[in-house]
Symmetry: C2
Subunit: 209 residues, 2 copies
């Protein structure tokens, strides 16, 4: 363990940057602890003190590496949805492909739950909500522009997809409604995949089955 006196920040040149030795390991340890803390507590409740405790270092060192809770949060939630190249997916399988992609990310081992962390925080934090809108626009809408029949409809279709996929994340992983938690991944891919398929390909002036 790296022991750092609580008075340490007042004694050193704060512009000197992170210490040259062990810096990557320390940085990784802070990020790992922050990821857990933000995921469990959400942005509002997470504390630098708690993150430091989880990383087994002094809180001042967390601030030295990342500047603020907000900056640390930004470093955690650099979210790349890593959407597959939808142009190469058979058209009738777009819905199930998208649902399968998100479920695999949220429920993989290790789970890539940065989006869930951001979602949890976005409910009460405007900064997090703004990041979510950016991810939506730059990644989901952008991916749909290439594959929808009318690019002018890409944003609306992406919006409808978001209502279903974020609602699924919310009910399965955050609010944890028992029947939604109980559904098998394959069943969700089929049920919810049909909805997403419709939002991607059906005529927007008559989405009825």
């Amino acid at each position: 363990m790296l022991y750092v006196n609580a008075c340490w920040p007042t004694l050193v040149d704060m512009t000197a940057g992170p210490p040259p030795r062990r810096s990557d390991a320390t940085r990784s340890r802070i990020l790992r602890s922050a990821r857990t803390e933000f995921a469990v507590a959400g942005y509002d409740r997470a504390t630098i003190r708690g993150i430091a405790a989880g990383a087994d270092i002094d809180p001042s060192l967390v601030m030295r590496y990342f500047g603020s809770k907000a900056d640390l949060f930004d470093a955690i939630v650099e979210i790349d949805l890593r959407l597959p190249n939808l142009a190469k997916v058979p058209r009738r399988r777009l819905g199930e492909t998208l649902v399968s992609h998100f479920l695999t990310r949220w429920e993989g081992d290790p789970a890539d739950d940065a989006l869930l962390t951001l979602l949890r925080s976005a409910a009460t934090d405007e900064n997090a909500a703004n990041r979510m809108r950016g991810i939506f626009r730059h990644q989901l809408v952008a991916a749909l522009v290439d594959i929808v029949s009318d690019p002018a409809e890409a944003a609306t279709r992406a919006g409808l997809i978001a209502t279903q996929m974020l609602g699924l994340a919310l009910c399965r992983h955050i609010v944890r409604l028992p029947p939604v938690v109980a559904l098998e991944k394959a069943t969700l891919i089929e049920f919810v995949g049909s909805t997403i398929q419709r939002y991607v390909t059906a005529d927007l002036r008559g989405l009825k089955c």
Copy 2:
């Protein structure tokens, strides 16, 4: 304005209950302020001090009336979904009826946003998430039992409905994704109504269109 000295709580018998005069008006004023504070800030960030300021009274009086922030929150979010009698709705209109019902409640004048307040809080507060599971089970699942072809499927169907409706609430009212905010109510009733219709009535072993 009812002026209450900050020292007041130490000078009176705290077991005596609310003051006999103006108590209903004060109670209403506290509830009104709390509703705003919880809706804007979410459970974690809302403070008794802020609620008291909004009601123009001393914080000690808020505690005297409601005991704690948690109890005050419970008083605010007594949520009755007030679902219409679904057994009287023509079967093919169940989807649009449900979507219309929720949109009208969320976007009416005055908006009945208790469910949105609870949703915002449920993202980071297990107590709020638990209340949400209770509302889901006692109201949505219960309403579906009477109208689905196989009552054993009511919970699963209600769960699927929740993923879509809570996701719509999240994207339109909390994260505020621009294309979702921009959609007309009538359009949403049509688009999302088709999804809900399918979750209520389609064969669960093959929900495809």
